[in-house]
Symmetry: C2
Subunit: 197 residues, 2 copies
DNA sequence: CGTCTATTTGAATGTACTCAAAAGCGGTGG
DNA sequence: CCACCGCTTTTGAGTACATTCAAATAGACG
């Protein structure tokens, strides 16, 4: 099964940069495979994010607690996505994100040190990570604008359209958190209890 | 005065990568200086974003209209910042952002073609842009979490703390739009008319 | 099967919005 | 230099969207 993970990540990267066999081997040698069981945390608030994590099976999520102890989901990382506490990752200072598995998952971890080796040995990876971060930025900015301009119901519809695969795996309460409403309101919204006075 | 712009942008870049004289010259030769007068649009919804713009004097903003015709500010670009419609810039497809000058401003424009030349001739620039996009992503994610977890008043306080220089230049109604409230509510909030019943 | 968590439902409340209108402010032209 | 115009900011009253709190129901996992 581990073979699948390495194939997937190489395929993923090949969408953006071309790697020869030697470069692929080096890259794979810098990754640490790991299995994460449901509800297991791989990063906690206050810790330094030492790995960028590629998910090749299952699904993770990143979230924070506000001052009232409420959870807020920043992002989901299904199969084929990377996840990290970006702030902590680039600064190597304590972060605010918790990252946990929503279901039993399999990942490949790239440490900061190994990423630096990678950048040095195969500078093309600067390009690869630049491109995926650009895409994350576009998605994040779109979400900011959605939060500013759409109602909860519209945000939910967009979420369903954009991430249909997540609807299956992710508990409703966490979708509610992602789009920015309480589970109670979310439930009423989905069941049309709002319009019936 | 134009000299100041090139000095500023080189200083800015030197925080992240080291350039020799030849590389600096090449880079500067790829930039197009421009002056933008107050309220002038340099990009409109539906157009393709052909330039990434570095502001060395003044301040620009990026915003969209929602389906009700309301404006929503995505970002401000004061002195020393870059601005573009990121979605349109990376895809070279029609975007949704309008970008205008809030005050008379001076900028340096880098076209997509010239950026590609730059990446080819001086691959270190992949690193530079990767790093500034990483920082933008961190800021955008922080804003998402703020919108999910803070009240309007808390968001305003954070905004003031984070961008003190903007408060001087930017009309209140646009700060209101940025933090995600109406100008009316924003005014009441600032003047404490909410607590007095 | 029992326990724990997620989801649903209802009632009361609060935060922020809409609409309307007045007041302030800055630039421009007579 | 003042008057006017357009745009921003303020204020008030009524409303809507979303929350809180409480409690019942349903589902999932061990």
């Amino acid at each position: 099964m581990q073979m699948i993970g390495t194939e997937l990540i190489i395929e993923n990267i090949s969408n953006y940069i071309h790697l020869d066999e030697k470069e692929k081997e080096l890259f794979l040698s810098l990754l640490i495979p790991a299995t994460i069981s449901r509800k297991q945390l791989i990063l906690q608030e206050g810790e330094i994010c030492r790995y960028s994590t590629f998910v090749y099976e299952g699904c993770l999520r990143g979230y924070t607690y506000d001052k009232n102890g409420m959870e807020h989901v920043l992002n989901f990382a299904p199969k084929n996505w990377w996840i990290a506490d970006m702030y902590s990752w680039i600064s190597q200072r304590p972060g605010i994100l918790n990252i946990e598995a929503l279901v039993d998952s399999k990942v490949l971890k790239l440490s900061k040190v190994n990423q630096d080796i990678l950048y040095k040995e195969v500078p093309k990876f600067e390009r690869f990570f630049r491109i995926i971060i650009e895409k994350s930025l576009v998605a994040s900015q779109e979400r900011v604008l959605n939060n500013l301009s759409l109602t909860a119901e519209e945000r939910y519809n967009k979420f369903c359209a954009k991430y249909p695969s997540l609807i299956e795996h992710v508990p409703l309460k966490q979708v509610a958190s992602y789009i920015g409403v309480t589970p109670e309101f979310f439930s009423k919204m989905r069941n049309g209890l709002l319009k019936k006075k």
